[in-house]
Symmetry: C2
Subunit: 414 residues, 2 copies
């Protein structure tokens, strides 16, 4: 059977029958219009989009390639390998196969686009060697950082995107509910985390938790029980856990979970590329009073943040408000980590990636806007003993916020 | 409890009791000696190591930071967050906390190192904005690409590293064996892949399959059954599968697995940071003759590669030999993908990352060397019908090779 014929005859039907949600043309057009407004403001004639989630956002496909967006004229998607599949997935009109990156200038010319004077490109993630290569291909063209423009657009989510984040939250609800059924005394942290992963995948979670960074790695299986909850590690979070090895010293370990320990589970899900992040406490039998009190403090802080979440609220002010509350509740030395290692954020934007704008953090002096989505996660850490916390993903609405991770908020005690 | 006291009193014992394997001092010293020989040859006075697996290889810790290696003098590990834990994990003598990357020049000076004239840094992965920042911190210093030097050293594995890759292979053996027990007709691909992941984690697999690239993403759950095995996608591999959405259009999907279909499973495992890669065929009842014949052809090609694998064998010649054999066996139009989309490699180096040297591929005209480890994976694709293949991870020995993924090679029929 000819492969191209098969793709155009069968692939879309097969994909839709198995749960695919394609990005509507109207959605892509709206994003491109907002992008162009940002490009014009920053003086870019064109944007060469190189990062996978950026070009997915603007094209609807993740087929490996490059997206050229001129300020005037149609975007050109150049696909390195499977251009036919990209044509099925993307509503863009101009999709071609790129046999070699060397052909980039001639492909842009063939597309009828002018060679730009100033070309945007994502300098926050583009490797230097690739940058040098593009520079040599386009002599005389000035390259500027387009990452602030695209990240600024991506931070406001459309109703379509919010629905998908809610879909991720719904998967999380099913996973945590099933997990309450299979958590057993004597299980290791990693065994429990692995079963939660299996549950999430069965319900459509995509497994990769994408981040925008060279070295920052994200994963779902944070299961920290008792003593391991008091361990800090490489990640910029209140606690990191023991992990499985010096090469992966974070998250679930081979430690056996015992009765009455606080079991903190911070488990992200991903639906159609969009993530939700969520933390709940589990316990086998009741947790000790110390942890119950600290957990209630986390809930109080969490609720206080949500009560202040609305368009116009300043991100740094929200963060600082929680520091004051943490202190007032008696957790000055354990809120967000042990002394000297306390992290400086209480929330992070979330969408296609885990580290989007806004950051509810020190130094982030900008207001919340309607359509922003973020995870808020107060946590309290006791070295050598354990940690507690709660986390939900929310969307900023016209006059407040809505929780997109709608699982019950209490300790999940078995 | 004071966190620092706890770390130095308890963390190492807890880690060792839960399976951690620390990199021995002698191993690190040998790596640094080989690195310095490479740096000297390339005219570098120092190497600022920025990429996580590179500094793990040279320090034994993945705590987030930067590693400065002067040509003469001791390395300096600067840790952004948890320097105490890094001290437990790394045999390096000089480990300090770095409050801000801005302090880098003064920290190097305090370490007693000269400001280098020529500084190596990994330009293949370093983002442009960070490069500009380092340039502004070290005016007059010439930055050169150190990635060829470090990748060249990392391609030859020590006995310690080979043992860990074999450990990953042993986890794979347990996972595939358990999978034969839980594969059932009516299960979806992703449900099966998720259960395999859970099994792998329980046995110590680390879940993240690391690659060295901006956009290339790796994951374990390639489960392609019947029709989905005939689908090409973003990854540079013979087939990609349907996947779960346009945002993740590769690997296992919600398709239900049926009797007599070829079920191709390409599942990577990771132990103590080191990966093994392995592909086997599953089937529920016997596969149709067409697929059995094609699978036997893959085994013949696989065995032919291994028969020629020894120090001195040319990588491209090995690849081309398989093209001739594929054609002779009647699979010119289906070996390594459908016409026009056939991929141009049959093997890839593997270790801390999935895309290390050597590549058994077109254009890779260099010889195999003792201590190299790579995965060899002949595959045959029939669009609209399915695909078959086999894959093992091997180490090049003094006069041949040894398979590190020692699971049975036959179809796993249930």
């Amino acid at each position: 059977m000819d492969y191209k014929d098969w793709v155009h005859g069968e692939l879309k039907g097969l994909s839709l029958a198995h749960g695919f949600r394609y990005t509507p043309r109207q959605e892509i057009e709206g994003r491109l219009a907002r992008l162009r407004a940002g490009m014009e403001k920053e003086g870019m004639d064109a944007f060469l989009v190189v990062q996978k989630m950026d070009y997915y956002y603007l094209s609807g496909t993740t087929q490996d390639g490059l997206l050229f967006v001129p300020l005037d004229g149609k975007p050109l998607l150049m696909v390195k390998r499977e251009a036919e599949r990209a044509r099925v997935e993307s509503p863009l009109d101009d999709i071609v196969r790129m046999k070699s990156v060397r052909d980039l200038p001639s492909m842009i010319q063939d597309h009828g686009a002018k060679v730009p004077k100033t070309m945007g490109i994502e300098l926050d993630v583009l490797p230097v060697n690739e940058y040098f290569r593009y520079q040599s291909m386009f002599p005389g063209v000035k390259f500027v950082d387009a990452s602030p423009v695209i990240r600024n657009i991506r931070k406001i989510k459309s109703p379509f995107e919010i629905e998908l984040i809610k879909g991720a939250g719904d998967i999380g609800k099913r996973v945590y509910t099933e997990a309450k059924g299979f958590l057993k005394q004597g299980m290791t942290e990693i065994e429990f985390g692995g079963l939660m992963e299996a549950s999430a995948k069965k319900h459509g979670s995509e497994g990769l938790i994408r981040v925008r960074s060279l070295n920052y790695e994200a994963y779902s299986w944070h299961v920290l029980s008792g003593i391991t909850g008091g361990i800090v590690s490489q990640s910029d979070s209140p606690m990191g856990g023991l992990g499985l090895s010096p090469a992966f010293p974070v998250g679930a370990s081979h430690k056996v979970m015992e009765a009455n320990e606080p079991i903190l589970v911070d488990f992200g899900t991903c639906y159609q590329g969009y993530q939700a992040d969520e933390t709940r406490m589990f316990s086998i039998g009741p947790m000790k009073d110390k942890f119950i009190h600290a957990f209630n403090a986390c809930r109080e802080i969490h609720d206080a943040v949500l009560a202040e979440t609305r368009p116009g609220a300043d991100c740094e002010a929200l963060f600082r408000m929680t520091l004051g509350l943490g202190e007032k509740l008696g957790y000055a030395d354990s809120y967000l980590g042990p002394p000297g290692l306390q992290c400086r954020f209480i929330g992070h934007g979330i969408g296609l990636e885990l580290n989007e704008f806004p950051f509810i953090a020190q130094g982030q002096t900008y207001p919340l806007e309607e359509g922003m989505t973020f995870a808020v996660e107060p946590k309290i850490v006791f070295p050598g003993e354990g940690s507690v916390g709660i986390e939900n993903t929310v969307v900023v609405t016209k006059d407040g916020c809505e929780i997109l991770t709608t699982l019950e908020q209490d300790v999940l005690e078995v």
